[in-house]
Symmetry: C2
Subunit: 356 residues, 2 copies
């Protein structure tokens, strides 16, 4: 089966430090630049490799600070397709600027927006789903890819799926926020809900058309910047207009209001998908059980009166004594000691050091 | 007050790896060679500095493997006073060999035997107590120094004290093994008991006389080795006799049977004394409380949702998240992660690595 999609352009918004993955993640070394699984490839490298076979072009939108790192890691993406944001203005500005720039350079295209730091082991299944989404996008829909729930997770927003549209695609009734446990269990039992993984496939003209109606100043702003991007005035226009753009997520700016109008579709997919936000989910993804899991390290790990350790990085042998589900992480900068249960609190680690 | 004691010879048995202090302690780097408190001096250096002002001479008995380390750390002790054991044969053989060698070289002396790895912050108070013990030893007693209990500890053997002998010294009724909690509490309430810190002060002729009666082959063996020590036959005699010496602790060989005969005295002392056997006691000694204690390191320590961490060694910042009373130790060889409550189990750490 061919997975190529005619004239498909992938946009990869590469943002977010991933502060619960400290000290692997650092302000200068965000999650998407990490080889989080110790496979030899970073998350953005995996992402680019996953989309390249179906993409005519790949555009990456990232912050100025991370542009050199991105360029070094993904040489297959031409320098002119690396769009650098002067400052973070949330996902709608980043994706809309990419859409406007695509139209300026190459005309209207079907584009897909996929985060730089998600883990999708089955790239072929992913591309087959994107091809389905692209077909629905050709019909003028904003298309999202919904992950079929495997558990009543409270970690994701949900997509309520409606009537069939075309192929695998179905109409979207509504997006819902992250539910409480009871609601999540009820949705799983009732069926017809998918996890919102933040993946959108849409024609650039459709996206920008919605934006013209719903966020007109933001739309005008990104069109002005895109028109100037490849000329002499980029710096002037970017410096003047970018800081004025509305800070809003694409979910709130486009997905939710357009879904209410009946303009959003979803392609349900059952491929494995992970947004590894903390060391607990990294442990789970790495198959942590009773024994010790080592990631990105060679030296031995020993357990005494302890089960289920995850040890990441570092070159010295590590022994955990009497702490269950320990997480020990060593980077060039620092050492973290925590447990899977406390993994969410790692967000405060860098600040604790700054105070200490 | 003068603390000099005429012709007093200090014997320092320097043995015991301290395996619950891994990875600081290693087979090639036993506890007594460690700067355990991060003060800049190792335990044996502190011990020698503590006894030098009251000692005519200092003799150190240690294993062959550790002799170079001892020699390097305590240059004030002449090389000929560094007695090297070919193999460990418990404390009685080590101390008796030192006593016999002292008699061979310098004639009968009052000697004191003090472990190389104990911590006694107030050296003056220690020396004043030893002077009292030496006076009682001149009377022909085996004299021990008993630490006045501050809590109903189950970690030490106890000395039951009897009638006054001379000065501060009292007769010893009996030595008791480490008690259970109930017994320890009863002894503390009743009074008249002291902790046995394994410190003995005795005339060499008295010690060897008791040994002649109670352990005659051991006594004959160390006398034969001592007679040959400074001659050409040392290696031959040592190689032939040393492996045959009875393996027995001085407590069982001398202290307990001689106490039963009325020949042991005790000088009670209230100086602070610590046998830091594990990281829990190191933490306590270092004043660990709600915050983070750093020992032998400069880099910052941060706590998030965690109280009472002890971080030893290493050069990188460490953050502990969600683990109370954590113990994080980095040596050249390895990293240990445990808690104060699990500190006893560290004994198995090196073996766990060997298996892992």
């Amino acid at each position: 089966m061919s997975q190529a999609v005619n004239d498909f352009v992938t946009v990869i918004p590469a943002g977010g430090v991933g502060s619960r993955l400290w000290p692997l993640s650092q302000p200068h070394r965000p999650k998407f630049l990490l080889d989080l699984l110790g496979t030899g490839a970073t998350l953005i490298q995996d992402t680019v490799a996953r989309v390249l076979p179906l993409s005519e072009r790949v555009v990456i939108v990232t912050g100025e600070r991370h542009a050199p790192g991105v360029a070094a890691q993904v040489p297959d993406v031409p320098a002119e397709n690396l769009v650098t944001e002067p400052s973070p203005r949330d996902s709608m500005a980043a994706i809309a600027l990419a859409a406007a720039l695509i139209e300026e350079r190459w005309g209207a295209r079907v584009m897909g927006s996929f985060a730089a730091d998600h883990i999708i082991p089955d790239a072929e299944a992913f591309r087959a789903t994107v091809a389905q989404a692209a077909a629905a996008a050709e019909l003028g829909k904003v298309v999202t890819i919904g992950i079929t729930p495997t558990e009543p997770s409270t970690a994701f927003g949900y997509i309520e799926m409606g009537e069939p549209l075309a192929g695998e695609a179905r109409h979207v009734v509504a997006f819902t926020e992250k539910p409480d446990a009871e609601t999540a269990a009820a949705m799983l039992e009732r069926g017809g809900f998918a996890w919102n993984a933040g993946m959108f496939v849409v024609r650039t003209d459709v996206l920008l058309g919605h934006l013209d109606r719903l966020q007109p100043t933001l739309a005008a702003g990104v069109r002005e910047i895109a028109a100037a991007w490849d000329g002499d005035d980029r710096a002037e226009v970017l410096g003047r207009v970018w800081p004025t753009l509305t800070k809003i997520a694409i979910d709130h700016a486009i997905a939710e209001p357009v879904a209410a109008e009946g303009g959003v579709a979803v392609v349900p997919a059952s491929f494995e998908w992970h947004d590894v936000g903390d060391f607990d989910s990294l442990a789970e993804l790495s198959g942590a059980g009773e024994g010790a899991i080592a990631i990105g390290r060679e030296a031995a790990v020993g357990l005494v009166g302890a089960t289920g350790a995850v040890v990441v990085g570092g070159t010295k042998p590590v022994v955990v004594v009497g702490v269950d589900d320990a997480v020990v992480v060593e980077s060039e900068e620092a050492i973290l000691v925590t447990t899977r249960a406390a993994a969410q609190q790692v967000k405060g680690a860098a600040a604790a050091l700054a105070q200490g």
